[in-house]
Symmetry: C2
Subunit: 196 residues, 2 copies
């Protein structure tokens, strides 16, 4: 399966498209290879692309005044990643997005996306549904942060996204879940010793 076919399959899971429409959609993306540790988003620049991951993995994070970094999002194959606020509102980025492995992405520019949405009601629907699901996902995370303990958040993450937990460094997962690496290490250790 080519990379274009992959994103066509992806969009067809959300909306029906004719072959010609699928062609137009896929043609709006550009394939880019990214090396491990390479940044695709950096603070203060206005983000120009939304990125669909074909292969590899990424981490989006912010660094606060005290030098602490907090992971905002992960992405692996078939996920999207960017600095959402910067891309949507076309304001300067506050995040870094870095490749955790050698990766391949399909990027679409802000302008191309606007054109797609204007040109065809179906594309508008697709991006509307994407935004809704993004919001629904984020709301779940807010609820989780407000109501669960560090250990409960970890357990739930392991249930829902075991394939991500395997691939990302522990410090990144800890800061995604809102705890220190040390504390996550302890949680894991406790579980490992209980099993035996």
């Amino acid at each position: 399966m080519t990379n274009n076919q992959q994103i066509i399959e992806y969009i067809k899971r959300t909306i029906d498209l004719t072959d010609q429409e699928a062609e137009i959609f896929a043609a709006s993306f550009r394939e880019v290879k990214i090396k491990k540790r390479q940044f695709i988003v950096q603070p203060n620049f206005i983000v120009k692309h939304r990125n669909y991951v074909i292969k590899g993995s990424f981490r989006a994070y912010v660094v606060d005044d005290h030098g602490q970094d907090s992971t905002i999002a992960f992405a692996i194959e078939d996920w999207w990643i960017t600095d959402y606020n910067s891309y949507i509102l076309q304001t300067p980025a506050t995040m870094f997005v870095i490749a955790l492995e050698d990766s391949i992405i399909l990027e679409i520019s802000y302008e191309k996306e606007q054109m797609l949405k204007q040109s065809n009601h179906k594309f508008e629907t697709f991006f509307r549904i994407r935004a809704e699901r993004t919001a629904a996902f984020m709301q779940q995370r807010i609820i989780s942060n407000l109501t669960q303990t560090a250990e409960e958040r970890y357990d739930r993450f392991m249930e829902k996204y075991p394939q991500i937990a395997e691939r990302v460094p522990q410090y990144a997962l800890a800061s995604y879940l809102g705890m220190t690496t040390e504390f996550l290490s302890r949680i894991r250790n406790k579980k490992a010793s209980k099993k035996s």
Copy 2:
């Protein structure tokens, strides 16, 4: 200004509409009066409406296993409120949404909203933009929860939404910000004594 005119003004701030389109949009909503302490959403039911607040205020919250409640959202005049996940994904609600004051809302049903979006590209665009801004707002909140201390979160809320802070009970604000009422009381007290 009638309540219909109010929501027409609202949508026109996002997209341009002809008078006829504005008419169709406004006609999809139904005005409902809600008494203080009345619930408009309760757990386990699938949420049928998205609600635009004409007058009054609301609080959306979840109650966890230990009986603790966490405020997920507030709404005052010109804001929307519902159990977002339940409405968008048409799954059973996990939240309560309660009126904090005697209120008036305009509600639109899930079916009517689907019809609007299908019938006119512009309405699809409107709801796409709403979803994007909702996601952007939620992402800001996630970042705030991950990176800031309780006091910083409070300060920032007071800066951005002073008019909400005034109108909602302290325990509701505390649980929105992810802290106990007692701790919020202490923060406020500390600030009050410093000023003198």
